[in-house]
Symmetry: D2
């Protein structure tokens, strides 16, 4: 083994998971962690809680849980804090969201009622369709940042936490492209001083977190740490960051199916995806400007997976359409319908149709949990900046400038698990396996 990383030991003390946005995802996460602690629910969907890794050769019989492979915080040490622009407590939000059954809500109500959000930073230009009633009365970006930094310090104290991570789970903001103010840290500082109108609330949360040395991840498509300005800040402050936009439903499935087509060298003529959802997310996305942000993170995945530059005859002319519709009968459930037009040997056409009846918050909650625990691990490893090995969780993952981000779910998983193996001082796995066959498949050393 020629690659080693700094040794890191089991963490002590509590970890505060700070959530800008106390909505359906956040409350489903908080309620679930509480239920798991009570032994009343399984943390299904969470790699940190349920995943394993095989170590060594297949015949070694060494398979361990990921939480035994690397030193992660225990669920018993995880505590939650949140901000929101609506004043409801976590129990009220959970009831309104309708994700969890009445029975499950009853199990966790006392704990949930204690989760009361701090006032949020709001900008009606960025979040249009929500009636905010719980807003900081700060006048400038600098004031908002100071207030958020104070909140972070207060949260740690109130929650008795030694360490914190921040993961934005707020509403989708209006799409603004890549504002000039985010292209360098210097430009950003100037823009903050000038109270520049192009700066969105999510970016202020990110800035505050980094300044406090708190690892930050972005579960939304909003602009934040995938800008040059914040990446510079992250490295300067020695903070690991990750994002953006959780890859939970239709897009997750897309990053499963597209690699399978490429694995088999099957051509792709078109991919039509439509998505119906009925929760607040859907309502917000009914605003075309908010949808634009989502469309951007959803559309990019095919190209980097399929590599049309390498396979022009197979993937050079793909009609890729993505649409999202607000459809109230769906509630918090989300339904995707994908029509995939492929072609095979000699160009003969075939079709694949996928109908995914999924639940947004149920899929997202365990991803947020994993991100929190892994970011905290990265911080303790003294890693900073982009955590490419966490690409597994995002629709639009970050990579070093000059590197293509990796979208293929299976490559992302290999990357994640091999990174954890290396962190644990184990060999990465190549699935080569010639050596099991001795003289039948001779290897010349």
């Amino acid at each position: 083994m020629d690659k080693k990383v700094r040794a890191v030991s089991k963490p002590e003390g509590k970890l505060a998971v700070l959530l800008p946005g106390l909505g359906a995802v956040s409350t489903t996460l908080i309620a679930g962690v509480e239920m798991v602690r009570q032994g009343k629910g399984l943390p299904v969907g969470s790699l940190t809680q349920m995943g394993t890794a095989r170590l060594g050769k297949r015949t070694d019989g060494r398979t361990v849980k990921l939480q035994d492979l690397v030193p992660l915080s225990s669920l018993n040490d995880v505590v939650f804090g949140a901000w929101d622009i609506i004043s409801e407590n976590a129990a009220q939000v959970a009831e309104r969201s309708g994700v969890l059954t009445k029975e499950h809500q009853d199990l966790v109500r006392p704990a949930m009622e204690k989760i009361v959000p701090k006032k949020g930073v709001h900008n009606p230009e960025f979040v249009r369709r929500i009636a905010a009633n719980h807003i900081k009365d700060t006048k400038t970006h600098r004031e908002s940042i100071e207030a958020l930094r104070q909140d972070i310090r207060d949260f740690k104290k109130e929650l008795g936490a030694k360490r914190a991570v921040m993961i934005v789970c707020a509403s989708v903001e209006t799409y603004t492209g890549t504002p000039a103010a985010t292209q360098s840290l210097a430009a950003l500082e100037k823009a903050l001083d000038a109270n520049d109108a192009s700066i969105n609330p999510t970016l202020l949360y990110a800035y505050a977190a980094l300044k406090e040395g708190v690892p930050f991840a972005n579960a939304t498509p909003n602009t934040s740490v995938d800008t040059p300005a914040l990446q510079e800040l992250a490295r300067q402050e020695n903070v690991p960051v990750a994002g953006r936009d959780l890859k939970s439903g239709q897009t997750m499935m897309k990053t499963v199916i597209a690699p399978s087509l490429k694995a088999r060298m099957l051509g792709l003529e078109g991919w039509f995806s439509t998505n119906i959802l009925g929760n607040r997310d859907g309502e917000v996305l009914d605003d075309p400007q908010a949808f634009k942000a989502k469309e951007v993170t959803k559309s990019g995945v095919l190209d980097t997976i399929l590599q049309p530059e390498l396979y022009p005859e197979l993937y050079g002319k793909v009609s890729h359409k993505v649409s999202i519709h607000y459809y109230p009968p769906r509630g918090d459930a989300k339904e995707g319908w994908d029509n995939i037009d492929i072609f095979g040997w000699l160009g003969y056409p075939m079709q694949l149709k996928i109908n995914f009846l999924c639940r947004d918050s149920i899929l997202a909650a365990p991803l947020v949990l994993d991100i929190a625990l892994f970011l905290d691990l990265a911080k303790r490893l003294e890693w900073k900046g982009i955590q490419e090995w966490m690409s597994f969780y995002f629709k639009s993952p970050m990579a070093q400038p000059g590197l293509q981000p990796e979208h293929d779910l299976f490559i992302q998983l290999t990357k994640l698990k091999n990174t954890l193996r290396v962190v644990a001082g184990e060999e990465p796995i190549t699935h080569l396996g010639l050596d099991y066959y001795g003289d039948d498949l001779p290897i010349v050393k």
Copy 2:
């Protein structure tokens, strides 16, 4: 790089691909190879013809075609021979099968008319619903084997080929489980002498091929080289073998979706698969005994992918049902409908439904081509016995006794490509990628 294999050079002379079974798949393959040679068609679906591998680091910009990475036969050097129990030539079979358009058939008719099958070995106990009219008049298994071995030698002479591979593309035979006669080479030899009724035609083809030193693969669910008897023979005769049952449509997709569920640690409550097909295959499978063989290869995939022993809470109680129906309106097309009942965070249920409108022979033909070229490579590498690295192509892939066979399509692809990298003297890829990040993710050497 600490793993090297014997060097091997670009092959010279023609490679005879010998096909027991001149049906829709075989003729689609032969016609397609001819069209590709004429520049009139693309070998879509074939890794050997269209696939690439990245070598070294992502920033190295070294991506090569697989056929440039390892020395494979050129399509110009591939020639075809076939056996069948019906006397039609390849052009007639193609016309009856209705896979290719009239226009494509016209392009290749002269070449196809020259492909006339040699008489096949037939046993009406194993293949019940076909009116055979082109059968060897051998009286015993030993006579049949001798006749087939003579055919192989004749094919090589007639086709001017230096090397040959055999790939069974015949009809599905009645399922017989694991007859005693196949449990050791000694038992088999005795059973052959005794003209044992449990020995199926496919096994005779396999025996003949191995005795002639011809690499053998089984594209059907029929019993052959995944028995101890034939594996012993393969090693004794220094011949590489692969099988069984091509993984082309619904099962291929199953080995894509199941790993994605496991990647995300989503639970599985049930998986209902139904399949409608209207070609001769469907007609044969309408015989419950033939269906049984297919059901066995189709059913095994979930368990080894999902590892219920490792994840009892997620995959310990899966209702897995597979059904196949003969439905004449489908013709050679094949349609799968899968209903997948999954559960996420805290056990909340979700559904995934997949409707695959595919074409059997279009998906299968390029796989047969790849298998032929890779088996020939293995032979030139002096590899013998089970070729686990070719698991990618099979519904029921073989592995060393004591090893679980690998069903996950993405692990299979990694295994295949990393094997080819090693054959070419390149490093296998681990997708680790920490080293791109320098001091941000420090590695202690």
Copy 3:
């Protein structure tokens, strides 16, 4: 108006609905009626409770509720009795079935606990997969009939009912075709005397009901009143009868889609229907002999709707396949997948695929209610024998010998509503409507 029927007035007193089979359908019905009475639920799916009929011309503005058009029993006057071969009371059955939410069960538990079944007539040759524990100890068919007749009289007394109807909602019995014993009343009487083994329990219930003058309907595919023997008895005893097999899910939809194809003169090449269900019904149908009975009632619908004898070019060669699979994850829900291969102008093929995620008992319960109320109406009208106007409710409706049964849902509805109009002394509706247009579309009287 040249057609009139006997006048009938609003019924007085209670109507006992007697249900052989206290399973998911029966308990969903009983619980629902209770909830409706409490004002806690809507009787959705019931024509008698929610349906209306337009009377006279469209411009007359006369649309009335069906229950105001003809004199039906009020829900307040409906009482229930049941037989079963398992001793659970209705509350227990409802809990095990899992059709209704916990919350709904709580609302009606006291009423449901009082519904305790009388012991059922059981024959393990006909119902194989159920562990019966609540069986009459009668030794002969004649004894069973006597016991059932006594039960009917007892039920009326216990429930304080003046009138009764019986609707069989029991498990599917083994298919026996058309036993000789059912071909005439004389043959049946002889067979009953001889304790003939071909006589199924459902038939005994029917015989008992008719002898007691109680209108009878068969909600299952089991053999009963669509035999010559029982029809003779029904007319002799002046009792109206209806059946068989409720048309609730996939078949209902089939009788909607098939008429639409014929309306548009679109051709049909094939129809593949598969059905997955996870309740006791599914378990029983896993027995191929029980499935056979269901397959028969499910398969007949296409031919009589499409009239291949009239349209041989469009419907002369239809591949119609029906399959049912027991798939436990579905629970009481039922899911149909239909693939319909149609062809249009010049024979060009098109496909229609229907995925129906339905709930068996939710669809069936209101049909049973309607049948009960309409049968009671028929009895008060002094109608007897086959009630063709109730074809709307059945997969395999009955018609006079010499008449094709009518399967088209819309013709069935027209038949039903026009019959009710006539009963009420109103004109049947023809949808002609020329007369609204005065001189534009002149009518010469």
Copy 4:
């Protein structure tokens, strides 16, 4: 029988079917009629060519073809003329459209090459995405009308036709709502004089047809004869008219499914329809203003079928969303995906999902043929104005002011067939059928 209409005899001489718009639908129709005449194709989808009607009682055995019931033009007497803003002849359009196979095109090429369109009336404000190259050089609406009227007279002469009908099959025009100019004939005349910009090309075609006494139908969603102005003109000129927008694919199916839900009194919470199509129609509809026109005709159907005013609890709050997407891989095929959220007994939710892989022109062509023949019949019957009995063919059918238009496909069919019965002097059918049952269901005369 108390309703009679004027007697009408078998028509003599040729009928010119004049088609503004020589696109995929028109050429598929013309090619098909030619193939049918040659005995090389079946007019599937056409009621006039393949439909039958039962006359009298079911036991009478009197079922006749519709073309024997009422005197329609024979296909041998139908001739075609067309206008278009692109100069291609019918053979060229057919080739570009890709609806018919090469083989079918070859069969009819000579006849198709002779169909050359006359120059069309074009207004780029109404048809934006088409590069017109074959346009009348008229300067005013009045000039355009005069030119069209001359064309009609020329067509009749050139084609040797005694009678003509006009059916608009042109591109969808920009939606303009209900311009003031169309609210009365006087307003229209004034607007024509003033060359009012709100007047669309389709309306000019309609005006010209009516003035020439030519029956007119509108197969598109464009504004024309469903305006008060043109209806006044139609009655004044004694011309029958019909429209608008052919009901061929997804909407046709909607008017089948919705009535079935109402038949069963199943509630509806939402209906989400998405449609992908890849032909010129799709391209035109990618213009949001054109889509608007389509959306209006597509959206209206549910309300009039479901009658929410009558059933507020079942249909009072339906989320109905319709979307259309241009998706080039579909070509002339059209694919609908409908998700229908229904509820049953006590409000329990169920889902119905419909995936319709259809072909636009294949479905539309026979409808245009039927409309032509029936309009010609109406003209010979001296009927004028709205032909409500032809509602069967339209997404947005017309009815007398004060009458709800009828959308239910089955009521529309009943209306159509009963009208034809009455035209033929036969009794309309009510499906009552009590009289087959003699004394069992006694009728008091």
